[in-house]
Amino acid sequence: MKRLALLVGIIVALSLIAASCAPKPGVIKIGLNAELTGGIPVVGQSCKNAAELFVEEVNKAGGIEVGGRKYTIQLIIEDNEDKAESAAAAALKLHTAGVLLMIGPNASRNAIPAAEVAEANKMPMISPWSTNPKTTIDAKTGKPKKYVFRACFIDDFQGVVAAKLGVELGVKKPAVLFDVASEYNKGIAEVFKKTVEELGYPVVAYETYTTGDKDFSAQLTKIIASGADGLFLPNYYSEVPLQVQQARKLGFKGIIFGSDSWGNLELIDLCGMDCDGLYFTTHYAPDIATPQAQAFIKAYEAKYGKTPDDVAALTYDAFGIAVTAIKQAGKIDREAVVEALRKITRYEGVTGVLEYRGTGDPVKSAVVLKVDVPGKKFTYYTTAKP
């Protein structure tokens, strides 16, 4: 009898939940799929901050006007724990929660499976920060996905920029250490290797590790033994400090450089002086901000007390694109929104000018930043145009 009561209780509770899921009138639900816990929580946090800032600004101004009615935005946040399978599950959860579209995930290893789920369930998705090409390409057909877009450039471009950066810094014998269990790292490492070899500098060491590894001494020892004079580390801000420190400890004296996954000030906190003076490619630099970007930076600093990083800026742009599309769609319907998204060819955001040429991948410039540890910031070095 107890068991029957238990079952009845469960059913009642479930119906209460079902009831509470009914959409409120005059509200647009937008889902956020972010890495709030796991290996790169600062990325998720920045994303969430920018999202909440944007939604707050829009709602304070009275909401968005669609088809003659005013709607406020309701943000539904899901933590994907920086795990691929959780990102897919979170995407599914947002879909069943009835969001109009989904922003995120950021890391490509999470964005790619989430994009599969979004496409299968016909839910529009914009990833702010995922640069791996596979996010917008259908795994089965190889053709671009219909429902997935992004606010950043792709690694086919960034890898080339990184390779050219290495050559410009004087590297003649490049080596790479990357996370083979993560789509982004592997993807950009491959583009880098191909480009740098085309430029005439064969890679002397191409070592791998798995996400979560903390000890890279075996691989780094091999790299040093290979005689490399440059080390490309296309890895996330929480792992790079360990890699740089261990490399220096083992006696590596060459040039170390990286990619947009470095772009977080936490890197400086974790790394210390070992990372001073290193370069990396990324999406935007606060130093050279346009007036529009400066407004965003000011608002972000006012609300959160720190300068927004590239994830935050790109998230802000992703929301901007989403809202533009919703307004142009004229109705609260996923298909209409997707159509409108596809029609956007040019968007001016805080991270610069995004040009969409038929696919979900915008063409944008990249910037190279330099790590300034004593100043606790990244300084602008140069821009690379596509």
């Binding site: 796991g38 290996g39 791998t208 798995t210 000890d215 691989q219 929480s238 974790l270």
Partner: protein, 301 residues
């Protein structure tokens, strides 16, 4: 050749930490035949304790010499972790001594999960480093690059293991521990306070893990989920060496350190590490189920 010795040194560093944690698994299994799956997470908690104590000492204490701060941090971590382990044993494991074994294992898993997520929920997911209590000096000996921290890790671990071995073999408490692991039913009849000895075992195992934790926090970042992977590897070390056997745990730890370092050297990718480690384990279990230094247990029909 020089690279080879470099790698050996790397392996020793890792292996020391694994060995320290494996000891906890072996000791607990030896005394109450329970695989304490929460041990990896106890290790994780110890690193966080070291982090907070170390940061506090650096910030508020007067300029104490690095060694003193280091020792204080380690002792604080050991004390607190031992305390935590005793509490866990008292409230989660002791009630289940008479229950079917599987309940105890599930409880251990539950405690582990709880520790991980509680740390995650209260302290946050951001990876951290221990503050530089002892400033890092890098130098080369005979062409092998090393640092003072690395040598400290290797030597401190060795000293602690030696101390433990002495305790187990030369003191009354150690004798009681060995006695209980040999025969659980008769020994209490001889006047040995079983509950107290078991608590001491847990405390000892945890404090040794805390030593490993403090040392680990100096060179690697700590985060709430690190206990999972390290816990499992230390567990394999304990089993390979012969679970329940203290010297076996030490041996297993160093062996696994070697596996972790040399797998990416010999095989093309680092993703083979898990595969190699677990296959070794499986093979060993098939051909020598009691581990390298374990002894077979007879069962009365």
């Amino acid at each position: 050749m020089q690279t080879f010795f470099q790698q050996i040194l790397n392996a020793l560093q890792l292996g020391s930490v694994y060995a320290l944690i494996a000891l906890g698994y072996s000791m607990v299994y030896g005394i109450i035949t329970l695989i304490n799956f929460a041990h990896g997470d106890i290790f994780m908690v110890s690193t966080y304790v070291a982090f907070f104590v170390g940061s506090a000492l650096m910030a508020y204490a007067f300029k104490l010499p690095g060694i003193i701060t280091f020792l204080l941090t380690m002792l604080a971590s050991m004390f607190f972790t031992a305390f935590l382990a005793v509490i866990i044993e008292r409230f989660a494991y002791r009630p289940l001594r008479k229950a079917p074994r599987v309940s105890a294992v599930i409880t251990a898993l539950g405690v582990g999960l709880f520790l991980e997520n509680f740390t995650l929920a209260t302290i946050g997911p951001h990876p951290r480093f221990l503050p530089p209590i002892i400033p890092v000096h890098r130098f080369t000996i005979w062409g092998i690059a090393t640092s003072n921290i690395q040598l400290i890790i290797i030597f401190v671990s060795a000293i602690v293991m030696f101390l433990l071995d002495t305790i187990v073999r030369r003191t009354m408490v150690g004798m009681a521990m060995r006695a209980i692991s040999w025969d659980k039913f008769t020994v209490p009849l001889m006047g040995v306070p079983m509950d107290r000895i078991i608590s001491i075992t847990f405390a000892l195992g945890a404090s040794i893990a805390a030593v490993g934790g403090t040392l680990y926090g100096f060179v690697y970042t700590i985060d709430p989920y690190m206990g999972i992977r390290i816990g499992w590897w230390a567990f394999i070390s304990a089993v390979i060496g012969g679970i329940g056997n203290i010297r076996g745990a030490m041996l297993g730890g160093y062996l696994l350190g070697l596996v972790e370092i040399f797998t990416p050297v010999i095989l093309p990718s680092s993703t083979y590490r898990d595969f190699v480690a677990f296959s070794l384990l499986l093979l060993l279990l098939i051909f020598r189920p009691y581990g390298l230094l374990g002894r077979p247990v007879t069962m009365k029909v």
